[in-house]
């Protein structure tokens, strides 16, 4: 079946550097994408979302880029901080489905 997946399971970055987390999706009909952050022992926390009529959206220190041509999504975190250490998931709704589908996640570790 169609699914959302991630390229890298782990990512280590130095504090202050920028982080880029990638995600490939297979459902060409998907029109809404969400990035979640999950810290240990907690539920997923909404970070940022983007609709398919956009290719870029910025939040506070985070930017999401959407490339519909190659069905690729990325999350950029500027000036990464220790508090950014967590697992990051991308997610989308399949065509005609109310099931929000998650990838396996990327673990981001920030080195002080």
């Amino acid at each position: 079946g169609e699914s959302v997946g991630l390229h890298l399971p782990t990512l280590s970055v130095q504090e202050g550097d920028n982080s880029i987390i990638n995600c490939a999706y297979s459902n060409s009909a998907s029109d809404y994408f969400i990035w979640y952050k999950q810290e240990s022992g907690k539920g997923p926390q909404f970070i940022i979302d983007i609709r398919s009529n956009m290719d870029k959206r910025q939040g506070q220190r985070v930017t999401v880029l959407l490339n519909k041509t190659v069905k690729h999504l990325s999350l950029q975190i500027a000036a990464t901080q220790p508090g950014d250490s967590a697992v990051y998931f991308c997610a989308d709704f399949g065509a005609g489905s109310y099931q929000l589908t998650f990838g396996k996640g990327t673990k981001l570790s920030v080195i002080p």
Partner: protein, 115 residues
């Protein structure tokens, strides 16, 4: 409350016992979801409730799993005759209308351990 509330936060049970997990969604949210997250894995969809519509139960892994929701409020996920492979974090989420362009708000989950 301000967010999605789940209880208990931790549950340890013996194989073969039944367990009930509770979820209080954000007040006013009509849609409620249950997900399962095994250790180190992503989230697996279990069930979706939207208002008074028939729930989408397509993600329930077996007939030992069931869920109920009272109106647009509390939901209970029941696992009968628990097995060790049921050990996981069970996450509940809610959204305003259950639309496919709405973000979900998650609770902190119930960590279920089946011995």
């Amino acid at each position: 409350g301000a967010g999605v509330s789940q209880s208990p936060s931790n549950k340890v049970t013996e194989k073969g016992k039944d367990v009930e997990l509770r979820c209080d969604p954000i007040s006013g949210h009509t849609a409620l979801y249950w997900y399962r997250q095994r250790l180190g894995q992503g989230l697996e969809f279990l069930i979706y409730f939207q208002g008074n519509s028939a729930p989408d139960k397509s993600g329930l892994p077996s007939d030992r799993f069931s869920a109920e929701r009272t109106g647009e409020s509390v939901s209970t996920l029941t696992i009968q005759r628990t097995q060790q492979e049921d050990s996981a974090v069970y996450l509940c989420a809610s959204s305003s209308y259950g639309a496919t362009n709405e973000k979900l708000f998650f609770g902190s989950g119930t960590q279920l351990s089946v011995l």
